[in-house]
Amino acid sequence: MRMNVLCTSHGKHSDDKLAYAMAADLVENAANLTGQDALDMRKLENQLGEMLAPHFRKLANRENDGLVKNGHDHLFQPLHAHPEHAAEIEAEVMKLYEASPFCHTMDKEVATANVHNVVHKWVRDAQHMHRDWFAGHGMIGHHIDLVKHPDHDPNHEHVRRWFDLHQAPSYDAHRKALHEHAAGERIA
């Protein structure tokens, strides 16, 4: 039960950092291997990182475009990972995995399920990061190239709901925010 920590001073995690951190998560057994297996696993990790970086760039562009276009309303996009983009990444991860020397070491069904969970976790977290920087600080952009969104209002209803959901001050506030986000209805 080890928590991995990702730190970035002065801004958001970069696309490259997210890509290589996710690649490390996907091949977390690499550290336990020795010899040729360890080398092959590191190669796979690097291939995954290179493949994933443009995806996190694409994700960042999508989130930033949404925030510029829709402002506060973008915070009410679904909380889960963008389904089509996540499926695209999953397919590319599996393609690299199946071309690697490890493709026969794990049952394909188990490998597919593991990849699905990791991809959805990282895509969701990255989406959340961009929305959180906007909600909490009014900032949009990439990594340390952040600019203030001209229309950001820290007291906007959607900003307050975002923090009711993610930084819930109370049990009631949290479950109320959950219901309102899921049902799209307001509770007095």
Binding site: H128, D132, A168, H181, E185
Partner: protein
Amino acid sequence: MAGSVTTNLSNSWLAEVLSAGHCFLPPQSGVAVTANTTTAVTLGSATPGIAVGMAVTGTNVPANCVVSNISAATATSLTISQATTGACSSMTFTGDVFKIALISSTLAGNVAYGAGGVGSLTTNYGSGSGTPTQANLGTDEQSGTGTYSTGGLALVPAAIAQTNPINSAAVGYSTTIQWTGATINTAGAMIYNTTTRLTAAAAPQNNRVAGVFAFSGSVVSGTLTLTQPTQDGHTGLMRLSPN
């Protein structure tokens, strides 16, 4: 005295898990229902994962309403503790709300200690006893900065995983554990249950500590993200496993 953090689940949590003291069911959000000025609720379709005691939220649902009974005879009938004040077509059923609070790297106590001494109640493992709560963290919590606020972040449980191996069960959270625009220097984190579910010999009865997790990280006006381990029988944050 400077302190340190050791990853462990508290003794009291182990006992509470076997005493209906924690509900790790994920929320069932926006469930289609039929209810109108009554405690009787008809679900639009059979919905697994709702338990007696889960909180109920929705339009015209009074505050502090919970599921009080589930019909044994039908798959879609249940009773809630208070009548709705009008028509309700959608409800959300919520299990316990856990939170994760960061522990400052400059902690004065010793949250790794288990059998007495400074901070002994905070994690309460080894030979420790009692029921530690988040209040025991006291001034050893990371101070509020950026999007980090005192008490930490609410966690939404994910569906219980039974994989790797199949004869295990692991808890995980679907929440992104992340703080932005923050200046943080942390030695670890505490997960605790904000929901009052068990009586106790003395207050408080909420904010019971589930576990403490050691790591280190620091950011300056940046982003700190905690990535949970794979939710399975080998590495899950909280798990019942033969391994």
